[in-house]
């Protein structure tokens, strides 16, 4: 089975679900009212 190609510069981000701190699920696009710097860290510790 092929691994999907990673999204890169110039690509459009498809809908992707993330969780708010309260456990509710939202789509990443709900934060895209402006350009977004998304920092994906290893974990919160």
């Amino acid at each position: 089975m092929n691994t999907p190609r990673a999204i890169g510069v110039g690509d459009v981000v498809p809908p992707v679900e993330i969780e708010m701190a309260n456990g509710s699920t939202v789509e990443l696009g709900s934060f895209l009212r402006q350009t977004l710097v998304v920092v994906a860290i290893r974990y919160y510790g």
């Binding site: 890169g8 981000v13 920092v39 994906a40």
Partner: protein, 134 residues
């Protein structure tokens, strides 16, 4: 912490910050609330337990031998020197971080994929990428 301090400049460029972690929601909430005497982060912190964001952008995994490399421990010491202290770990310690800039049209303008633990781009590089994306 660096992003917290740079947020005003990022907002001046018409952008904002979103932190994504692999851990529990309560830890994201604690960061935003400044629990444990930490500086409260004033940007949203969300969690991605399914690693959807990480996989989508191709952020890698820590390989076992990377725990033995000087670069990894240099990054740890640099973070320690900035005042970062390790809290309770409940997330995925094998997940490497990354930074992306996504514009309002959902188009990716910048991607940084970490090569080892603690490998983050300089804030100046992120700000330059934001300026270029305008």
């Amino acid at each position: 912490m660096q992003l917290h301090e740079a947020r005003a400049g990022i907002q001046d460029l018409g952008a904002d910050v979103l932190a994504v972690g692999t851990a529990a929601g309560w830890q994201a909430a604690a960061l935003m609330n400044g629990a444990g005497g930490r500086v409260a982060l004033d940007f949203p912190c969300v969690v991605d337990p399914a690693h959807n964001v990480y996989q989508m952008f191709g952020f890698g995994r820590v390989r076992w031998w990377q725990w033995l490399t000087p670069a990894l421990w240099r990054n740890y010491l640099r973070a320690f020197g900035r005042g970062s202290r390790q809290g309770k770990v409940t997330g995925d310690v094998g997940q490497l971080p990354g930074v992306v800039i996504v514009d309002r049209d959902r188009r990716v303008q910048y991607v940084f994929r970490a090569r080892t633990v603690g490998d983050y781009p300089p804030i100046s590089q992120v700000v330059d990428a934001l300026r270029a994306a305008r």
